[in-house]
Symmetry: C2
Subunit: 344 residues, 2 copies
């Protein structure tokens, strides 16, 4: 196996201290690979980076309309959020609008990933529930979809086990993923995600193609094309909901609006649509390093493939070349995109 | 540049989801490379993995004796600790025995790395000070050394700036590092560490040799050999102090006693002495991934190079092959040492 290229370097004392390898594909809506690095044909788990694809049935089915979901709520359905009070309240409201509560969620419970929000909760004497799970918005969307599908039946009984691959809700979700990527999901591995739903191994080439479709509507069913447009608009209007305070996805979409839809996933995954450029992107860091490496790599791809004015370019390039600061506030190095890794 | 071998794999759904490359050397006290993987001649920053080398002057100078440092305190001088109450109290006592307090520390302040200890502090309404810094024991050792060196002078004035490369304290510390590794520190890069002291780039081959010397005393000055023995014994008696609750280094040394002295460093570094086997080890993960990858790799090296009984072998192999568990407690994969990476 050839090693994937080095995409991100951590510098200290004038040398490269650590580095991150990975692979990435930039693809247009016709499926043409516009640029690439490393192995883009090995099936890999996209994890949470495909939440917008998994939310297509929520809108296309009419469930979002039936339960009067707002922009904030639709953005949260595509989110890996911080578990901040506004995220928790928004997920709770989604469930209430469908006549349910957090008892319906099967995502499991964890403390917010960001330490300061953990400490704030601990200081208030709070402990987390399933609404704090970074996937609670996605799961609330699944529950809303299930409530629509269950009409005429006992909703709670129908919903039980909605995270399982063969549940009617998850079959809808997987069908949307297969349609958007054009990848036969039965061909490759299935894993269980952090929140217990299946994650399907799909090549970067096909994931990038799916995001070019999400950005353009080309190659999607009419229902999914409308749903993709609605979800992109919702996230552009409420980018706080898709991640939260200080997070890359929120900051980028607050600044660049509908020109970029980007979404991180666990284990160093990223997918993005650049609708104005007609491109989709998928990126996987070999080592599964999340915030540090894959955000820098995504910034490098935005810099190269999205129309930016001078101020926006400085903003994006700042995200691709960060100071590393120690406990005394001294700049001890830099974390930056490796030019050669993005020349492909 | 040839890529370093894959040392650790994260498996999910029957496939390799992520993987970590790195390099490692196992060297005897004569400097002979017994086993190796990847590039062991590129100078790299060992970060906190060499704290025991940096503590040699504390003991060799007589400062440890002068200030009546206990086993717990000497272990803490070699530690990257959790900032648990016992660690904080032990660092405070070291400074008090030298007639000083935390005002003398120049390591900077951070919340304990482990989230549960952050939350416990937040719940108690506490905020961290320099004693909570994972390096506060090492720095308290530097302060004790400086107090001895300053005799007859104003200690506080003498100590100011002890983290700088040209301060008399840091010159002693760097000289010990150079003597143990046999590497001319003026030949390669110098970075600034998280706690603001210099970190010197040294090849893995030389770092492993230094740890074989620490384990055997061979090739060290008489004073450093005695100091190394004293520090190893202290850590074996008080392994909680070198890391803390649930931490790899503490668990391994609690179980294996003086057969293993191992110490993690930032950016995926590990050094170890296997004194009974007469070997030293140095390991660096390319991607700088800390807890996850380098601990698994270190467990694989202990498994191969340390005499273990059946129960100990099961314990060590369990650290080299861990279940990955999701937010519902479901085992979704494994993190394990890649056999081929350790066959060199």
């Amino acid at each position: 196996m050839n090693a994937n290229p080095i995409l991100v370097e951590a510098l200290r004392g004038g040398i490269t201290e650590s580095f991150h390898r990975g692979a990435w594909a930039v693809v247009d809506a016709a499926g043409h690979v516009v640029a690439r690095g490393g192995d883009i044909d090995r099936p890999v788990f996209p994890r949470s980076s495909v939440k917008v694809l998994q939310a297509l049935p929520l809108v296309a089915s009419g469930a979002a309309e039936r339960f009067h979901l707002t922009d904030e709520q639709l953005a949260l359905a595509c989110a890996s959020h911080n578990g901040e009070p506004a995220h928790v309240a928004t997920a709770r409201a989604m469930l209430q609008q469908a006549g349910l509560d957090e008892q319906a969620l099967e995502c499991g419970t964890h403390w917010p990933y960001r330490e300061n929000f953990q400490r704030e909760m601990a200081q208030r004497g709070e402990t987390p529930g399933p609404l704090h799970n970074n996937c609670s918005g996605k799961h609330s969307g699944f529950v809303c979809l299930g409530c629509l599908m269950a009409e005429g039946q006992d909703r709670r009984a129908f919903l039980r086990g909605y995270v399982k691959p063969d549940h009617p809700v998850m079959r809808e979700v997987s069908a949307a993923l297969q349609a958007a990527t054009g990848w036969d999901l039965s061909r490759s591995a299935v894993g269980t995600d952090g929140c217990s739903i299946p994650t399907h191994a799909i090549p970067l080439r096909h994931l990038a193609h799916a995001f070019a479709r999400v950005g353009s509507g080309v190659g999607l069913s009419e229902g999914h094309a409308r749903a993709a447009k609605r979800l992109r608009a919702a996230v552009a209007k409420a980018p706080f909901m898709v991640a939260g305070t200080g997070r890359f996805d929120t900051r980028v979409m607050e600044r660049l609006g509908e020109r970029v839809f980007c979404k991180v996933g666990a284990e160093g995954f990223y997918c993005a649509a650049f609708p104005e450029a007609g491109l989709g992107v998928a990126l996987k860091m070999d080592d599964g390093n999340n915030a540090r490496a894959c955000e820098v790599a995504m910034a490098a791809l935005i810099d190269r493939h999205v129309r930016l004015d001078e101020g926006e370019r400085a903003f994006v390039q700042g995200l691709a070349n960060l100071p590393l600061v120690n406990w005394n506030g001294i700049v001890v190095g830099r974390l930056r995109a490796a030019e050669a890794g993005f020349s492909g």
